[in-house]
Symmetry: C2
Amino acid sequence: MTDKAFQDYYPEELSHCYGCGRNNAQGLQLKSYWDGEESRALFQPEDKHMAVPGFVYGGLIASLIDCHCTGTAAAAAYRAQGRAMDTKPPIRFVTASLHVDYLAPTPIEALLEIRGKIIEVTPKKVIIEASVMAGKTLCAKGKVVAVHLPESMLKKMKGE
Amino acid sequence: MTDKAFQDYYPEELSHCYGCGRNNAQGLQLKSYWDGEESRALFQPEDKHMAVPGFVYGGLIASLIDCHCTGTAAAAAYRAQGRAMDTKPPIRFVTASLHVDYLAPTPIEALLEIRGKIIEVTPKKVIIEASVMAGKTLCAKGKVVAVHLPESMLKKMKGE
């Protein structure tokens, strides 16, 4: 892992995401990194993230997969363009579709490892497969189709 | 809608879910109700739930669909058994798989309407299709396969 996460390269105004924005003090602040050809993030759930006592709620798993995969999509797109992540224009992906299979109850005390594997990179979209491990237990598998942040969102943000 | 939500019938010890537990003060406390043959919930996102300024992050949408559908699955299972929701034994579902298609950016200021449509009810699982509307805009569609809370989770909760 390197010191700077994928999400640390997001422009300031696009770094407020509840799941992974460094500028969202109340959010999860997920951070994703390259680990060879795959990407990797670690996340420690808090007690409040429970489904039932002792286990993580499904929405957190979905959120971690979602943000890890859009981050990985951005990193993969920079790489496909042969560009470093601190070069312009910035690349920021959002989720077109998310699929999660919950394979085993996720213990809330475990440090979770989220991994992403790049399946496809095209100019319009990136497809990522994800896994969520608690120790040696595969708790969830996911798949995300990520697309570039729509112009309509940027325009509304700028008040246009 | 009736006064008491599906989630209000969950047993005390199974009402801590971050997404929908009445006993989770820090959670979303989603509440779902019958609306004819479908189910319905309303949710007002907070500022912190943003993806980028002005829009809801995808993990919240996934969480709302998830909890609304597991609640609807329980309600549908009681109904299939011809039982009222305050009768025993309690029925509590968890998510086996979750799919979300994000169709339009979800404005953060909008009161969201989550609807569930029951596709299949068997003794082992319930399949629900969901939609998330912001006013007249269909922001997301979802599909959940819900299964009964595993015995292993109950045992661990009881310290067995």
